[in-house]
């Protein structure tokens, strides 16, 4: 087998080496708030976990530079990341020994950089493997489940991120709330947006009137939008106390959901219209000529064929909204944004992370799920 160099792999491997030398994997903080100092590589490398990681990372980095089977690269880089995560947990006791009871270990910039680089290696290998969409989804979800199993086992319980987690008994409730806020605005947006999109497709006049308005709504920054909505909503709540009972108030869930709903409309409407615009006129004429009624054409022909384009609009909306819900934390909407803003207020970086990481993960998983759906709806049609 000729040993040919993989350029991307080489770049990533060099970057891994640089990160290990230059950036700290862990920071030792005197307490929860004060910034810490990086744990020097020399000290880290004396630990058994870190040694195991380095021993595995060396062959991984070398193989990633070569053009070997992507499955091998995927397996090795995925294993390296698992071992890294394991090492940081298992070494933490020894690293903390001799520090005060308030001292904490926090994940350092080196860890985040390695996470990114190993993630890129895995992504590259995964793409080159050309797996079926469903298999890819299962693989990723399985891997994440393994990571979570490690964390749930208390592996990182000495790291400050997990300490913050254990301080937040409502973490999972906030997660559910975060998703409910995101999806709770998307569902009405679908119910309103899909028919509007179809109208836009059928009538250029409706399109010319509607799309600019929706685009304008999109350009309003989210905080400004929350502010704008607070005023009418609180007025509404004042004049109709019954509404306030149901949570329609100036702050909290109502303005958040309403704002997200408004943001969601443009991608849904324009992708629905684009999906319908792209339908083959011959197909539609054949369907009508064979005696399908309007409704049969819509459900049996137009919607299924426009679905991939519509789903890519949904993908935009889902990832966007999961991110925007975090901002809603500021106006008391709940969700992971709550931790971000609390953490910012207390300058507790790890509490901020406890809000950001799950938000990113949720958005990533949602996008992955929809990509799988798109691939499955397209497989037959194309």
């Amino acid at each position: 087998m000729p040993f040919r160099i993989d350029r991307l792999g080489l770049t990533l491997a060099v970057a891994v080496a640089l990160v290990l030398v230059l950036l700290p994997l862990l920071n030792l903080q005197p307490n929860r708030i004060l910034p810490g100092s990086g744990v020097p590589l020399g000290e880290l490398i004396a630990q058994p976990g870190a040694q195991r990681f380095i021993l595995l990372m060396i062959p991984t980095a070398i193989l990633v530079c070569l053009r070997v089977h992507p499955a091998l690269k995927l397996g090795l880089s995925a294993l390296s990341l698992l071992v890294l995560i394991y090492a940081l947990g298992s070494d933490s006791d020894a690293l903390l020994a001799g520090s005060s009871g308030f001292a904490r270990l926090a994940l350092g910039s080196g860890f985040w950089a390695l996470l990114l680089l190993l993630g890129l290696m895995m992504t590259d290998a995964l793409i080159k493997l050309e797996l079926g969409a469903l298999l890819r989804l299962l693989l990723i979800v399985g891997y994440l489940a393994a990571l979570f199993a490690l964390l749930a086992n208390g592996l990182w319980d000495r790291l400050s991120l997990m300490l913050e987690y254990h301080n937040q008994p409502t973490f999972w409730q906030q997660g559910v709330r975060h998703l409910l806020l995101a999806l709770g605005s998307i569902l009405p947006a679908l119910i309103v947006g899909v028919p509007l999109g179809i109208r836009c497709h059928r009538s250029p006049r409706v399109r010319a009137a509607l799309i600019p308005v929706l685009s304008l709504l999109q350009t309003i920054p989210s905080l400004a939008m929350f502010g704008l909505l607070m005023i009418p909503l609180s007025l509404l709540a004042l004049s109709f106390p019954l509404l306030a009972e149901f949570g329609i108030r100036g702050i909290g869930v109502a303005p958040a959901v309403l704002a997200l709903f408004l943001y969601s409309l443009l991608p849904i409407v324009s992708n629905t219209a684009a999906g319908f615009d792209g339908l083959d006129p011959a197909v539609l004429q054949a369907a009508r000529g064979m005696g399908m009624s309007r409704r049969q054409m819509l459900w049996q022909i137009e919607l299924p064929l426009a679905l991939p384009v519509m789903l890519s609009g949904l993908r935009i909306v889902v990832t966007m909204n999961i991110g925007l819900v975090a901002v809603a934390g500021l106006i008391g909407g709940g969700g992971y944004g709550t931790y971000i803003f609390q953490g910012l207020g207390q300058t507790a970086t790890d509490l901020v992370l406890l809000g950001t990481l799950p938000t990113i993960l949720l958005a990533f998983l949602a996008a992955l799920l929809i990509d799988t759906l798109i691939a499955m709806t397209q497989r037959e049609a194309r």
Partner: protein
């Protein structure tokens, strides 16, 4: 029997079809021919109510089509178009099953019918039934388009340039198959085409249109013999006309007893079911004024001479 009576359709300023009268007997193929934009497709679509006429009537077996719901009417009429319009998200099987399912046939009936149709179009069920259309060649897609149009056993088929996008060989083969199927099922076909050769090969009646008007409707033979002055003459005329006429008759029509000629071992032979045009071509090619005519079993059943062909070939 289909009758178009005073059929007119105006789009804005433009009269796409202008007072068209045409009668197509049951079990016949009628070809609508004319230049681009002369109103052929519009005429066809008024028959299945994809377009409503501005004035005039369409009668199918004496009954005005306006008495039927458009959807019900269309399910009774086969429809095949140049773009084919197979549903890309449905398998060949489900494409063919479209109209039977709209008509609520049972799944056994549908299944049996799909088998029959793939058989009829000489396509292997196991190979094709569960393919998606984008995997098929143009000719295969066209066949599926025809099968789909035939699915609910329509008595009338409308075909809008069904073989437009095919290479000449495939097109000729499909034309042959279509004619065979049509004779076998005894259905009526109204077919739009640009191609006079296709019209002559397939049709019992050719209707020539220009600028929305019907110029002449006649059998291919009549049209070739006595075309109206102007557009029709241009369309069928030219040097090809004599050969086209010959192509309309089988050799059997002009076979003479072998005794009239001195046939020997070297006399070239030709199948009786071929056309007079084929016979003339063979005579030219073999430099032989007389051909031995043989039947399907290869037995000599007569002879054909170039003099007979000359007498049959000309106009009036």
């Amino acid at each position: 029997m289909i009758e178009l009576q005073g059929l007119t359709r105006v789009f804005g300023e433009r009269t796409a079809v202008d007072n068209l009268n045409l009668r197509v007997e049951s079990g016949q193929i009628c070809a609508l021919i004319g230049t681009s934009g002369c109103g052929k497709s519009t005429t066809l679509k008024m028959i299945n109510r994809l377009i409503e006429p501005t004035s005039g009537t369409v009668l199918i077996n004496g009954e005005d089509i306006r008495n039927q719901q458009p959807e019900q009417l269309r399910r009774r009429i086969g429809y095949a178009i140049q773009g084919i319009g197979l549903f890309p998200h449905r398998s060949v099987y489900d494409n063919i099953a479209t109209v039977p399912r709209l008509l609520n046939w049972s799944s056994e009936q549908v299944d049996q019918r799909v088998h029959e149709l793939l058989d009829l179009l000489k396509m292997d069920f196991d190979t094709f039934a569960h393919q998606y259309p984008h995997r098929l060649s143009g000719g295969e897609q066209q066949r599926i388009g025809v099968a789909r149009a035939l699915a609910a056993r329509p008595e009338l088929m409308l075909m809008d340039e069904p073989f437009g996008a095919l290479d000449p060989l495939t097109r000729e083969r499909l034309q042959g198959e279509l004619k065979q199927i049509q004779r076998m099922l005894g259905i009526t076909i109204i077919l739009v085409t640009h191609d006079i050769e296709e019209a002559i090969r397939l049709a019992d009646q050719i209707a020539v249109m220009d600028g929305g008007k019907l110029l002449q409707a006649a059998s291919p033979r009549e049209l070739l013999r006595n075309p109206r002055e102007g557009f029709v003459s241009q369309l069928v005329g030219g040097e090809e006309r004599a050969l086209r006429l010959l192509s309309l008759s089988p050799i059997a029509d002009l076979v003479q007893p072998t005794e009239l000629f001195e046939l020997n071992e070297d006399t070239p032979s030709i199948d009786a079911h071929l056309t007079l045009r084929d016979a003339l071509a063979r005579q030219l090619w073999q430099r032989s004024p007389v051909l031995r005519v043989v039947d399907a079993n290869g037995a000599t059943c007569g002879a054909i001479s170039v003099q007979e062909l000359l007498s049959a070939g000309g106009g009036n």
